[in-house]
Amino acid sequence: MHCFFGILLLLVAGHAAAEVPVERAVKYRQSAYYLMGQHMSRINAVIKGEMPYNKALLEKNAEIVVMMGGVVIDAFPAGSDSGATKAMPEIWREMDKFRQLMHESQSELDKLLAGVKTGNMATIEERFSEASKSCKKCHDLYKTK
């Protein structure tokens, strides 16, 4: 009987990551953000001239960043505010604002990808700068150091 209700509960919870134990939910989003940061750094290295420009590779980097942006959208299930996380508890109290920042950031990332596809370095630089500002805006509000 318990088992039945358990399963029912899981089905009702139904959300992408909502039924995952807390530490897995945390690890899941941190992994996505980790990749996001890695690929943002690679784009930055090309902008700074530390890595040679390669259009296909740069596009791939930008695509991964956009994709990870899609992954984290549902990676803050209720209750995943404990354990080894740097996510501040305010996130769950201000979920609307948090989601708003996420969507703003995601649209900057879309613009970055579009910019990368033009192959124009000045455009890429500008869009990259806007995109990183959107990351920082949220980190300053909702992520501890």
Binding site: Y34, M40, N44, K48, S132, K133, C135, K136, K145
Partner: protein, 187 residues
Amino acid sequence: MKTVRVWDLPIRLFHWSLVVLIITAIMTAKTGGKKLEWHFLIGYATFVLVAFRILWGMIGSRYARFSSFLFAPGTIIAYVTNKDAARKKYLGHNPVGSLWIFALLGVVLLLIATGLFANDDIASEGPLAKFIDKDLSDRATWLHVQVCGKLVYMLIGLHVAAIAYYYFIKKENLVIPMFTGDKTEDI
């Protein structure tokens, strides 16, 4: 009244350069993104400046030398607790002010050391961060921002408060001598 050259030219240049570098370092860090590249350069410039100050603390003129403001703990305690000891006028750094100087130099050096290993969790990191793992770099970042960064704000606050105290209560302007280098001594 006798005019005494207390702050030699290198000390005055050091002082005002450090003011500019610390303020711009904080501003560029707050902005982040591309400005973080500037933040790094400002950090390196600050290192050169502080290294010079340490050298000058050994070979500079009288009031610049560390030996002129290295006080025994007893002297420092007496300065705070004993009225007679406090009345003695120090042209250079007084026993409490000297502690501030050592604290600031220490904290700035720590900022630079931890900054080299820090990361911004976006797309930039100090030049040595790639040699250590992410957790350690995150801890360096925490020390850099949450510990040393906060300490710098606190030290700046104390510094300004002390100058205001001297200006309004003790009726002594400490800012002008940091431009002209001179103080007057009663004899």
